[in-house]
C-alpha cells in the first residue's frame, strides 16, 4: 500500500543535547527519517536544541527550530507550523516524553496533530510499569515481579533472590541484594530506615541472568521482522549501555533463540506498536532457561542504531516509512536493492560494541556499574570472528593513558560472563603469552596469519614481543600478510549487493577492490564520543564527506562509532568501519590510494595518526602535520608567538613537583598545570600556592602556565588558506578564564569587546593563521585581562567544538569552506560574506552529567566535564541566555528564594548580583560570611547555617534546598576539599534539580537574563540565517 496522502507536514522532535544515555544515535535516526520523508514529498519540521547535530542543519528539513525541548516551546513551534503529524519515535526518551506531555495537555488535539509511529496509548503501555506488566502477561510472558513494602512483616511471601530498592533515595542509596530470607529481612529493614517515606520496592532479582535484546519492526498489516539479536556479555544488573554486547547472539541454541523471537513479536503486538521499530530486552536464566521481559522501547534507540550499523538494515529509515503508511514488503533493502525490508538480516560476521567511560573526569564518583548508565560513548568492531570484533571494539576506545575503566585489559573479564566468551578471550591471551617468548623476526606467514586471525593488533603484538609496532608491521608485510576487506550486505552473500560498507579480516579472498576514475579522499572520523570529543566532530566529518563529493572526489569514511551519521553507509562513497589506529588507517590507505587524507575534522584522534600517515607516503589534505605540531608543541608555539610579538601567558615545563614549584614561582601565581597533548583539559588544575602545586601528580612532563585570573575568554573560529584568513566568529565565554571552554557558556557576538579589541583579536588570528600555515579551519583561544591586555592561550589548526554553533549562528558553513581550501581554493574564491558580528544573539550552553556521578563535585573547573551542548538565539542577549539555560535543563527562576555562598575574595562582586535579585523580588539567603557582606551593602538577607556549623535541629542550607525552599543556588567553591560544605550544597541542589551556578561571571549573566529576558516570537533557523545573510 502506498504512503498516506492525508498528511503533508510532519514534525520531528530530536533528543536535545548529548547526555549520558542519549547520544548521537538520535541524530542518526532523525537524519534518516528526515531524508526518507522528504524524498517522499512530505514537508518536514524539526525541533532540537542541539546545534552539533546534522538533523538541525538548515538543509535537512524544511523548517528547523533550535529551541528548548520543553512543552512550552515545542507547542509554540507546533502552533506556528501547524504540522499534520508528529513523529516522536526518533528523538529518544526526550521526544517520547514530550509527545506524551503534548498529548495529555491537549495541545495535539487543539491543533489537530496526529501522533504517528507511536500513539499515546502505545507510549503509555510501554512506559507505565503496570500497563506494561499487564501487556506482557497478556501474552503469557513474565516481567520480574515486584512489590511495595512498607512494613518488615510484609516480606514473608516474597520470592528470592530479590533486589531491595528504597523509595526516594539518590542513586539507589540504601538498596541491596538478598538471596536468603535472613538477608532480605536485613535489607528491607535498612531500606525502610533509609527511605524518607519508609517504603521499599522488593523486586525478583534477575541479577546475573543473561541479557538479550531484540530489535523488532512491525507494520500496520501486523508483519513483524526481527532485525537483530544482541547479547550482553555483562550479565543482568549492568545497564545495557554500559555492557559489552555482541551481535548476533552467540550462545543460544535455535530453540531458545526462537523462544525470544516469539516473545518479542508477542510483546510488540500486545503493546501495540504497529508502525515502527522497537527494542525489547530479556533476561534469561542460563540454568533454567526462564525468561523475563525487562523492558521495551517503542521507538528507535541506542540499540537500534547499533543494530542498524551491525546489520546494514536502516531501522530508523524503515520505521519512518512504516509510520507514513508503507508496509514491510514494499520497502526495498538499500544494500541489496532487490530484496524487501521483510528479508531479515543474516550476518556472516560478528559485531561487538564496547562502552567508553570517562570516570577519570569525576574523581570521587562511584565506578561500580549498575542499572544506571554511566558510559559516555561507544565503539563498534566488525570481524569475521568474535575475537576479531571484540579486539577491534576494545582498542577503538582510545583510552587515555592511566585512565581506569571497566574491561581495561583482556584480563579484566567481569564475573558472570558466559563461559563461551571467557574461552574466546582466553584464547587471545594465550596467543599473546606465547608471543612474549618468541622473536618476531623468525615469524613466517602462517605465524602472522594465526595471530591476525585471532584479531590481535600490530600494537599488541609489538607490546607482547617488546619491539616497535613499525617493526611488527614491516615484518608482517614482508611475509605478505595483509588484511582483506569484506562487505556488510545484510544477507551473508546470498544476494548480490553493491554495498559500500566494509570491514577488514584476515586470510581470506578480497572482495572487489574500489574502481573508478575519481580522485579519492580519506576522511578520518573522531571515534567514540567522549568528554572533550563529541558529536560536533562527527558533524564536521559528515559535512566534509558531502563537500568532497560535491567537489568531484570519492569520499571514503573511516570511523568506529556506531551512533553517528558518519557511519551511516548512506553518507560516504565508501565506509570502512574500522578502528582509528595507525594499523587500520594505513591499511585502508594502501587499498584506497587516496589523493589525500583529511585529518582536521575528527578532533584529536586523526591528528595522532598524522605523522604515521605522512611517513607512509600519503598526503595530508589541508593543514599539514608540521603546522599541527607547531601549534601543539609548546616550545615551538612559544617561539612563533615571540617572533610575531604576540603575548602569551608565561609558562614552563616540569618533570617533578619541585620543578613545577620552581616554574610557578618564576612566572608567578596563580598557575595552571596540565600534561602536554591533552584533550578536554584532562588533569588540568589551577593552583594558587606551592602546596597546591605539590598536590598535583606529575606524570611525565607537565606544563605550568601563568593563569590569567579574572580574564574574559575569547574563542575564535577562522578559515585560512595558508596566507589569507577569514575570521568567521569571535565568541566570548560567559565564565571567566579557568573554566574549560567546553563547559563555559559561549556568546556570539562577543558582548564585552570594544571595536579596537575586536580588531586586535582579528589581527592576531590573521597573523597566527599565516604563521602556522593553516589550510582549512583554525580555532584560537585568547584571554583579555581586566587591564585590557590580549593573550593567546592556544591555537588549534583543526575543527573546533564551536564549528556547528558558529555555522548555525552566522549562516556561514565553515566545514564546506574549509574543505574547499584544503582542495586548493583561496579564501577569496569562497564567496564568503563580509566579516562582521552577527546581528542576532546566539548562546551555546553546556550540559553536565553530574547527576550520574554521585560522589563527584558538581563544580566547573579547568577540566571539561560536559557531555553536550544546546544553542539558543534571540534578538537580545538576556533572552538568548535564558532560553539556552532552559534548553540545558536549568530553567532560571523568575521569583522565589536564592541562596548565596560566595568565597571571600569574590563576595564584593556578588553584591550587585544579589541586589538585582532582591530588586526582582527574590528572598536572599546566604551563609554567614556572605550574608554579612550583603547586609553590609544594605541588602535584606537571612543568614543560614552551613552543615558543619549546625547544632542540633538547626535549619541548614541543605535542609533549605531539600525542602524546596530555594529556587536558585549561587555557590563559588572555596577549595579542593571534596567533602566541604560547598560540595554538600551543590550536591543537594543537583539532587533537587535546583539550578546551581558556581562562578560569579555565570551568576552575573544568569541574573541579567532573569531580569531582562523577554517573550519572543519563535523563529526557524532558516529565517534567522536568512536575516543574517540578507543584511550581510
Amino acid at each position: 500500500m502506498p504512503r498516506r496522502t492525508d498528511i503533508e507536514t510532519i514534525c520531528l522532535v530530536g533528543s536535545g543535547p548529548i547526555v549520558i544515555g542519549q547520544a548521537a544515535e538520535f541524530d542518526y535516526a532523525g537524519c534518516q527519517a528526515l531524508k526518507v520523508l522528504r524524498e517522499d514529498g512530505f514537508r518536514t519540521v524539526v525541533i532540537n536544541s542541539n546545534p552539533a547535530t546534522i538533523m538541525t542543519d538548515p538543509g535537512f528539513a524544511d523548517r528547523t527550530y533550535l529551541e528548548p525541548l520543553d512543552l512550552e516551546s515545542v507547542a509554540d513551534v507546533l502552533r506556528r507550523e501547524r504540522p499534520d503529524a508528529l513523529l516522536p519515535t526518533m528523538g529518544g526518551q526526550t521526544a517520547l516524553n514530550l509527545a506524551r506531555e503534548l498529548a495529555e495537555s491537549g495541545v495535539l488535539d487543539e491543533l489537530g496533530i496526529e501522533l504517528i509511529g507511536a500513539p499515546l496509548d502505545v507510549i503509555n503501555r510501554a512506559e507505565d510499569r503496570q500497563l506494561f506488566k499487564d501487556a506482557v502477561e497478556s501474552c503469557g510472558l513474565r516481567v520480574p515481579s515486584s512489590r511495595i513494602v512498607t512494613d518488615i512483616d510484609q516480606i514473608e511471601e516474597l520470592g528470592l533472590p530479590a533486589v531491595v530498592r528504597p523509595a526516594f533515595t539518590l542513586g539507589g542509596h540504601g538498596g541491596g541484594f538478598a538471596s536468603t530470607r535472613e538477608e532480605l529481612r536485613k535489607q528491607v529493614d535498612i531500606g525502610l530506615r533509609e527511605s524518607p517515606i519508609r517504603q521499599v520496592l522488593v523486586e525478583d532479582s534477575v541479577r546475573g541472568w543473561d541479557e538479550f535484546e531484540l530489535e523488532v519492526v512491525r507494520d500496520r498489516l501486523d508483519n513483524v521482522v526481527i532485525v537483530c539479536s544482541i547479547e550482553n556479555l555483562d550479565p543482568m544488573g549492568v545497564h545495557t549501555g554500559d555492557s559489552v554486547t555482541v551481535a548476533p547472539q552467540m550462545t543460544l541454541p535455535d530453540e531458545a533463540y526462537q523462544e525470544l523471537r516469539d516473545a518479542a513479536a508477542a510483546v510488540v503486538r500486545a503493546v501495540g506498536v504497529d508502525t515502527g521499530g522497537s527494542n525489547i530486552q530479556f533476561a534469561r536464566s542460563r540454568e533454567t532457561g526462564d525468561v523475563r521481559v525487562i523492558e521495551m522501547n517503542p521507538r528507535v534507540s541506542r540499540s537500534s542504531a547499533l543494530a542498524s550499523k551491525a546489520t546494514g538494515y536502516p531501522i530508523a529509515k524503515v520505521a519512518a516509512k512504516l509510520a507514513v503508511g508503507y508496509t514491510l514488503d514494499e520497502i526495498p533493502n538499500d544494500l541489496t536493492g532487490t530484496t524487501p525490508a521483510s528479508f531479515e538480516p543474516t550476518l556472516d560476521y560478528v559485531v561487538v560494541k564496547f562502552p567508553r567511560f570517562a570516570f577519570e573526569k569525576f574523581p570521587g564518583a562511584d565506578r561500580t556499574l549498575g542499572t544506571q548508565m554511566k558510559s559516555v560513548g561507544e565503539t563498534m568492531g566488525i570481524g569475521r570472528t568474535f575475537a576479531e570484533a571484540f579486539q577491534k571494539a576494545m582498542r577503538s576506545r582510545e583510552l587515555d593513558a592511566g585512565a581506569a575503566t571497566p574491561w581495561q585489559t583482556l584480563a579484566d573479564v567481569p564475573d558472570g560472563v558466559h563461559p563461551f566468551f571467557v574461552e574466546e578471550i582466553w584464547r587471545i591471551q594465550e596467543a599473546l603469552l606465547e608471543i612474549a617468548g618468541s622473536d618476531v623476526e623468525q615469524f613466517v606467514a602462517d605465524d602472522w596469519l594465526r595471530l591476525k586471525r585471532l584479531g590481535i593488533s600490530d600494537s599488541d603484538i609489538a607490546a607482547a614481543a617488546d619491539v616497535p609496532e613499525t617493526v611488527v608491521r614491516a615484518r608482517r608485510r614482508d611475509c605478505g600478510v595483509r588484511p582483506v576487506y569484506r562487505r556488510v550486505d545484510s544477507c551473508a552473500g546470498e544476494v548480490e549487493a553493491a554495498s559500500n560498507y566494509y570491514y577488514s579480516t584476515w586470510g581470506e579472498a578480497e572482495e572487489a577492490a574500489p574502481t573508478g576514475a575519481k580522485p579519492r579522499v580519506l576522511i578520518l572520523g573522531s571515534g567514540p564520543n567522549r568528554i572533550g570529543q563529541g558529536i560536533e566532530f562527527d558533524y564536521c566529518c559528515v559535512h566534509a564527506v558531502w563537500t568532497f563529493r560535491e567537489l568531484g572526489y570519492e569520499a571514503v569514511m573511516v570511523n568506529c562509532n556506531p551512533e553517528t551519521v558518519s557511519t551511516d553507509y548512506d553518507t560516504s562513497d565508501r565506509l570502512y568501519f574500522e578502528p582509528l589506529d595507525a594499523e587500520s588507517v594505513l591499511a585502508i590507505c594502501d587499498r584506497e590510494r587516496p589523493e589525500g587524507v583529511v585529518i582536521q575534522f575528527g578532533g584529536q584522534t586523526p591528528l595522532k595518526l598524522a605523522r604515521a600517515i605522512e611517513e607512509a607516503g600519503y598526503k595530508i589534505l589541508g593543514t599539514p602535520y608540521d603546522a599541527v605540531d607547531l601549534a601543539e608543541d609548546r616550545e615551538r608555539f612559544a617561539g612563533l608567538l615571540r617572533a610575531h610579538d604576540i603575548r602569551s601567558p608565561g609558562w614552563g615545563m616540569a618533570s617533578s613537583s619541585d620543578e613545577a614549584v620552581g616554574v610557578a614561582n618564576d612566572i608567578g601565581y596563580p598557575v595552571l598545570i596540565r600534561p602536554s597533548y591533552v584533550l578536554g583539559g584532562r588533569a588540568m588544575r589551577v593552583c594558587f600556592s606551592d602546596e597546591e602545586v605539590r598536590e598535583v601528580p606529575v606524570l611525565g612532563r607537565v606544563l605550568v602556565d601563568r593563569f590569567l585570573e579574572d580574564s574574559v575568554e575569547i574563542d575564535v573560529d577562522a578559515l585560512c588558506d595558508g596566507v589569507d584568513t577569514y575570521v568567521a566568529a569571535v565568541m566570548q565565554h560567559v565564565e571567566e578564564a579557568g573554566i574549560h571552554s567546553g563547559d563555559s557558556s559561549c556568546v556570539l557576538p562577543a558582548p564585552g569587546l570594544s571595536p579596537a579589541q575586536q580588531e586586535e583579536i582579528q589581527r592576531t588570528v590573521r597573523t597566527l593563521g599565516r604563521a602556522l600555515g593553516v589550510v582549512g579551519l583554525l580555532n584560537v583561544q585568547l584571554a583579555l585581562t581586566p587591564a585590557g591586555d590580549l593573550y593567546v592561550l592556544e591555537a588549534n589548526p583543526r575543527a573546533s567544538r564551536t564549528v556547528p554553533f558558529v555555522s548555525k549562528a552566522t549562516g556561514v558553513q565553515l566545514v564546506p569552506a574549509a574543505c574547499r581550501l584544503a582542495a586548493g581554493a583561496r579564501v577569496g574564491d569562497l564567496g564568503l560574506p563580509r566579516e562582521r558580528p552577527p546581528k542576532q544573539w546566539s548562546v551555546k550552553a553546556a550540559v553536565l552529567p553530574f547527576a550520574r556521578f554521585a560522589g563527584s563535585d558538581p563544580v566547573l573547573g579547568p577540566e571539561m566535564r560536559s557531555t553536550g551542548e544546546v544553542m539558543a538565539s534571540a534578538a537580545d542577549l538576556p533572552t538568548a541566555l535564558a532560553k539556552a539555560e532552559r534548553a540545558a535543563g536549568r530553567t532560571l527562576p523568575h521569583e522565589g528564594a536564592v541562596f548565596l555562598s560566595i568565597r571571600p575574595v569574590e563576595q564584593k562582586s556578588a553584591v550587585p548580583i544579589a541586589a538585582t535579585l532582591a530588586g526582582l523580588g527574590f528572598r536572599l539567603y546566604a551563609t554567614e560570611g556572605t550574608a554579612a557582606t550583603l547586609a553590609g551593602a544594605g541588602l535584606d538577607v537571612e543568614a543560614v547555617r552551613k552543615l558543619s556549623e549546625a547544632e542540633g535541629d538547626e535549619l541548614t542550607v541543605i535542609d533549605l534546598i531539600r525542602r524546596g525552599r530555594c529556587d536558585l543556588v549561587i555557590n563559588t567553591p572555596e577549595g579542593r576539599n571534596a567533602r566541604s560544605d560547598g560540595y554538600a550544597i551543590r550536591e543537594a541542589a543537583l539532587s533537587r534539580r535546583v539550578p546551581c551556578i558556581t562562578t560569579i561571571a555565570g551568576a552575573a549573566a544568569a541574573v541579567h537574563a532573569i531580569a531582562n529576558a523577554r517573550a519572543e516570537q519563535t523563529l526557524s533557523l532558516q529565517e534567522r540565517i536568512d536575516a543574517e545573510t540578507r543584511t550581510a
Binding site: 550462545t251 523471537r261 531479515e344 543474516t346 556472516d348 560478528v350 570472528t385 563461551f420 544476494v495
Partner: protein, 345 residues
C-alpha cells in the same frame, strides 16, 4: 590436520580438519541460518550435500540429542569459517563426518551464488587436489537424483498414538520437527515409507507428504501415488512433498541456481497479504504456470512457495512451517491444517 574442499571447477578452499579423517563428496550448498547447526546437519534434506554455514562461528553452544532432526547426520561434510568445540566437533568426529574449519566461507558462498551449486569433494587429511577435483566432476549432478528412498523409513511406525485427527506422514526424509509439530497440534501421527500405497493412505483423516532431499523429477512412483490419493483425503505437502504434489497436478519443477537455505526468507501469504519469515531448505522449485493457484510467493525471488487445490482438498508449502531451525511464523499453518483435518475427520 589440514584439509581442503575441491570444487568441480577446480577451485580449492583450504581449511583445518575438525571432524573425521577421510573424504566426502556431494553438492556444495550454503545455508544462511545463524543458529541451528545440529538441526541442519541432521536434516535428511541435506543428504548428498556438503553444507557450508555462512554464520561464521559454529558449535558455540554444543550439542543436545533433542536437537537432532533425525537419527543421524545426513550432510556429507560440514564447512565452517570457525568451528567451536569440543562438544560439536567431537560429535561430528564420532559420527564420521568430515568437517573443515578455517574455510573462506564467504568466498565459497559468493562463488556458489554467482555460478550455482557445485559438486565438490571435502578432504580431511592428505589427498591429491587433482584426484579430488576429478572425483567431484565424476559425481552425478543433483538434477535427476531420486534420494527420498535412501533416507525414508523402511517400516511404518507410530509417532503419536492419540489425537483428534489421524494423520499419516509419508516419509521422504521427514524431520522430527514436522512430527513434533503435528503431535503438538493434536494429531495422532503414523509415519509411512516413501513407497506406501495410496489405498493405505486414503484411510487416514489427512496425509502429510514430508520434506526430503534430491530432485522431485524422477520420483515418478511417488507422484503416481499422490495422483491416486488426491481427492480421497486431505493432503498437505511440505518442501519435497509440495513439489510432488505440484508434479501430480501437472506443474513442473526446476533446479534453482543455488537453492534457498536459511531462516530469513520472507514469503507473502496472498490471502491476507501477510509476510511470513520462513525457514527454507530446497534446491528445486515449482515453476509458476498458473500463478493463481500459488497461495504463497517468495518475496526474495518470486518463486512459488505454496499451492492450493480446494477441490482436491490438497495444499502445499515450499518452505518449512515446522521451522527447526528457524522462525515460528508459519507454525499456525500446520496447526490450522490439523484443525481442518480434525474438523473433517
Amino acid at each position: 590436520m589440514t584439509g581442503f574442499l575441491a570444487l568441480e571447477d577446480g577451485t580449492v578452499f583450504r581449511g583445518e580438519s575438525v571432524g573425521a579423517e577421510g573424504f566426502a563428496a556431494g553438492e556444495a550448498v550454503f545455508t544462511t541460518g545463524m543458529s541451528g547447526y545440529q538441526e541442519a546437519v541432521t536434516d535428511p534434506s541435506f543428504a548428498e550435500q556438503i553444507v557450508c554455514f555462512t554464520a561464521p562461528m559454529i558449535g558455540n553452544y554444543g550439542v543436545a540429542d533433542a536437537r537432532s532432526e533425525s537419527g543421524r547426520v545426513h550432510a556429507k561434510a560440514v564447512l565452517m569459517r570457525e568451528a567451536r568445540g569440543p562438544e560439536w566437533t567431537e560429535w561430528l568426529h564420532e559420527r564420521g563426518i568430515v568437517a573443515l574449519s578455517g574455510i573462506d566461507t564467504r568466498s565459497l558462498v559468493l562463488k556458489i551464488r554467482d555460478l550455482g551449486s557445485m559438486r565438490a569433494v571435502a578432504v580431511a587429511g592428505g589427498g591429491s587436489i587433482e584426484e579430488a577435483v576429478e572425483a567431484a566432476r565424476a559425481l552425478p549432478p543433483m538434477e535427476g537424483r531420486a534420494l527420498a528412498a535412501a533416507v525414508s523409513t523402511t517400516e511404518p511406525y507410530v509417532f503419536a498414538e492419540d489425537g483428534r485427527a489421524r494423520v499419516a506422514v509419508v516419509d521422504y526424509g521427514v524431520k522430527s520437527s514436522v512430527l513434533r509439530r503435528l503431535a503438538a497440534a493434536g494429531a495422532a501421527v503414523t509415519v509411512h515409507p516413501h513407497d506406501v500405497g495410496a489405498d493405505e493412505l486414503a484411510g487416514y483423516d489427512g496425509v502429510l507428504f514430508s520434506p526430503g532431499p534430491g530432485d522431485p523429477g524422477p520420483l515418478e512412483p511417488q507422484v503416481a501415488t499422490m495422483r491416486d490419493l488426491l481427492g480421497r483425503t486431505q493432503v498437505l505437502g511440505i518442501c519435497l512433498g509440495h513439489q510432488v504434489l505440484a508434479l501430480a497436478t501437472g506443474h513442473e519443477t526446476f533446479k534453482l541456481p543455488f537453492g534457498h537455505r536459511g531462516a530469513n526468507h520472507p514469503v507473502l501469504q496472498r490471502a491476507d497479504q501477510r509476510v511470513l519469515v520462513t525457514s527454507q531448505n530446497h534446491g528445486f522449485a515449482v515453476r509458476a504456470t498458473d500463478t493463481e493457484v500459488a497461495t504463497h510467493v517468495s518475496l526474495y525471488d518470486g518463486t512459488v512457495e505454496g499451492l492450493e487445490f480446494p477441490e482436491l482438498r490438497a495444499r502445499s508449502l515450499q518452505f518449512h512451517p515446522e521451522a527447526g531451525p528457524g522462525p515460528h511464523d508459519a507454525w499456525p499453518l500446520l496447526e490450522h491444517w490439523v484443525d481442518e483435518v480434525a474438523a473433517n475427520a
